[in-house]
Symmetry: C2
Subunit: 219 residues, 2 copies
DNA sequence: ACCTGAACACCGTTCAAGT
DNA sequence: ACCTGAACACCGTTCAAGT
């Protein structure tokens, strides 16, 4: 590999994303990235302050991939569509959700995305109060991912499940349901949309009954 | 500190939990833990296979702190109570949720806990099919935590929010609501229970209408 | 202005050796 | 059986120096 181009922030971030796509976030190190760019580790520090700031920059690029909101639709399909688009971006870069989990403050691009989702909800008639709780309830799901407790596809050496018959039965229910899917695992996309729709339907119901957490005080 | 006791797995795990409670999971290293136990780093490897297995052991201890299920109640309050008890355990050890996020497979104690929650749902009349989707929809929330996108209390140097007016409005809604809370932050416990109840109510509705994801085929 | 080289203060984990 | 010491192959980041 010939060092043709001068280093710059954009080239560093793109190379970092590509590398993370390949080897995963855990394996991504400043030294490995420098090696990939055919440069000494310290050269990177001219363009990113440190590793945390590198990851922030990578995330900002990924989040910018999320489709812009479509033309005027109802709030529920509009939010649904944006979240499913965010999910597609996260699936293109499997390390991104873990990176977001690691960060403590949202990056500017994430703030812009959240701002737009909140805007859709408010324009759809949800009160500021309800919207606030709705955003908390969505949590990371608003960015298209959730924390799964078990990764069912990866049953390399499944532990003995006989002490946990209920878990086994539930796993069986999934396997039976998805004969079509190789390996009989869960349909993650279905599970994601299932939970999302339970939440969105719940929010709609609360909106329709003018739910609020601030009690109205008389007198 | 005098080395009075022989090392054993239990003592290693307890010291590791105590240390993580103090300095956080990020700062916990095999070397630091060894130092705390007044022992050379390699001595630990006689009692835990490696760092991952150490963290698994720590998690198993925390999860065992979760209250056992109370006597025969309706499935909804019973599940709710277990999840809120799990949440209390997680709040006692703030590093635990991050540790669970890092693991790829559930520990035995987590499996046992999940098994018991699934058992409550099944005994309450939810089908295996619905219960499967319900468990996915709960995700990490079943263990009492969720991935928040912003940590609102920690506004040490808040970025300029004028480009994100909707985010600002929502944050204001929270601040206005919680005059009582110092700093005007969100009431995390309220947010957690809000989302949990939206989900549980949604699940109950699906149960009552005999919802299933497997289409019934005629003929 | 941008890149380099050496060094610092750490990691997790191996191996062979001690008691 | 349990603990030790030295070493290996890594980290992120500093600093002073090069061009």
């Amino acid at each position: 590999m010939v060092k043709t181009l001068r280093l710059n922030r954009d080239r560093v971030l793109r190379a970092a994303i590509e590398l993370a796509d390949e080897i995963g976030l855990e394996q991504l190190s400043m030294r490995r990235l420098a090696q990939e760019l055919d440069v000494v580790p310290m050269a990177l520090y001219k363009h990113v302050a440190n590793k945390d700031e590198l990851i922030d920059g990578m995330l900002d690029m990924i989040v910018t991939e999320i489709d812009p909101p479509g033309p005027g639709a109802e709030w529920k399909p509009a939010v649904r569509q944006r979240i499913l688009s965010a999910r597609r971006a996260m699936l293109r870069h499997r390390w991104a959700s873990r990176a977001i989990e690691m960060r403590q403050a949202p990056t500017p691009a994430i703030l812009a995305y959240l701002n737009s989702v909140i805007g859709i909800l408010r324009a759809g008639g949800l009160s500021a109060n309800l919207t606030h709780h709705v955003m908390h309830a969505l949590g990371s799901r608003v960015l298209g991912f959730t924390q799964e407790l078990y990764t069912p596809g990866d049953a390399r050496e499944a532990p003995d499940m006989t002490p946990f018959p209920h878990v086994l039965e539930i796993a069986m229910a999934a396997a039976h349901e998805n004969d079509s899917i190789v390996g009989g695992g869960c349909d993650d996309q279905f599970e994601f949309e299932f939970a999302l729709d339970v939440l969105l339907d719940g929010f709609e119901r609360l909106k329709d009954q003018n739910w609020t957490s601030t009690p109205i005080r008389y007198g």
